[in-house]
């Protein structure tokens, strides 16, 4: 009971000013995280600048739980690039490699075909029914950087929400009860 009692005591002994300071510092943490995320969105030009790899279709290059940094520029899409795309009727974006590109002479529009490095066939089976090619508007970004393992944190938290609540609760308590 020692630690819990101590924490409760420290909560009881809080003054109004102290509560306010702590609320502000908590707010600072949340807003700075938000600023970093939105800032990344601006810099990379991608709706989601960071994605977690969820499937093994790009193994051994990208494994489940790895993190990819995306960049969305005006540059044309070329074969070999690893793109993140959304297919109509599917919620989860897919990270695969471009294997075919046909770029129009007059409009500059592109037809793109993708494939996972670890998959046997191309992605036409994953596309919407009857869809043969991806167009520019399906592409959310292209992968430019890679960081291993870090994405496991989010995978664990989505699959076991209880761990998320425990973690948020513990962090919140830590912020409230900590004194400078």
């Amino acid at each position: 009971m020692g630690w819990v009692g101590e924490q409760i005591d420290s909560i009881k002994s809080l003054q109004f000013r102290q509560v306010l300071t702590q609320a502000i510092s908590l707010g600072m943490i949340v807003t700075s995280a938000l600023i970093i995320w939105k800032g990344l969105m601006c810099v990379t030009g991608s709706e989601s600048p960071v994605v977690v790899v969820l499937s093994g279709s790009m193994e051994p290059g990208f494994k489940r739980g790895d993190i990819l940094f995306l960049h969305m520029s005006k540059d044309p899409i070329r074969a070999g690039e690893i793109v993140v795309f959304n297919v109509d009727g599917r919620e989860i974006p897919i990270v695969h490699r471009v294997i075919k590109v046909h770029e129009r002479q007059d409009t500059g529009e592109v037809d793109i075909l993708t494939k996972g490095d670890n998959n046997f066939g191309d992605d036409r089976l994953l596309y919407a029914h009857g869809q043969l090619w991806l167009q520019r508007h399906h592409i959310m970004g292209r992968a430019v950087g890679f960081l291993p393992y870090v994405g496991w944190v989010t995978i664990i938290m989505t699959e076991k929400p209880i761990i998320k609540y425990i973690l948020i609760g513990a962090l919140g308590l830590l912020v409230i009860t900590s004194k400078e």
Partner: protein, 167 residues
């Protein structure tokens, strides 16, 4: 008890910072590598060349290729993804890139190779423009690091031409 938490927190923050710094330095060190890869491709036989039922031209060919990509590997390289693409221009399309063959090179020892094979992916045009068409065969590589920035480059090999008649 409080100080234990604070110390654990400080230790965690410090170790994560060091780890992030090491990852960043490993990625930056890749920039000092100036690779000099080489590749030669020879088209041996175009054993099928016809118009599909929907009107698109399709080509099947055998080729051999020798390449040395060993200089791409650094201590931060997990693997190199390498592929050979046919590239050409048609009245309809400013650029057509069609991957014919690809492979994953997991280590430096695998990066010097000679291969004779047929196209792994179908070589199909959008339309019927391939008769007597000049095309490039381009060897692309995509260096996938253990951590950090990915690199890509290519060697274009010119002077290939498809036959005038279907076969």
């Amino acid at each position: 008890m409080h100080s234990v938490m604070l110390r654990a927190n400080a230790l965690l923050t410090f170790s994560v910072t060091i780890l992030a710094l090491m990852c960043a330095m490993a990625s930056l060190s890749d920039n000092f590598n100036s690779p000099s890869p080489t590749a030669q491709v020879q088209v041996l036989n175009i054993y099928r060349f016809q118009k599909k039922r929907n009107g698109d031209d399709e080509v099947s060919l055998t080729f051999n290729m020798s390449a040395n990509l060993q200089s791409l590997f650094t201590w931060n390289t997990k693997q190199v993804f390498v592929f050979l693409a046919a590239e050409y221009e048609t009245p309809k399309n400013a650029l057509n890139q069609i991957s014919l063959w690809d492979s994953i090179l997991p280590s430096k020892e695998d990066a010097k190779f000679w291969i004779q094979t047929t196209n792994k992916y179908s070589f199909v045009d959008q339309g019927s423009n391939l008769q007597n068409k000049d095309f490039n065969l381009t060897l692309h590589w995509h260096v996938m690091p253990k951590t950090g920035k990915m690199f890509a480059d290519k060697i274009a090999m010119t002077g290939f031409r498809l036959p005038e008649t279907y076969r």
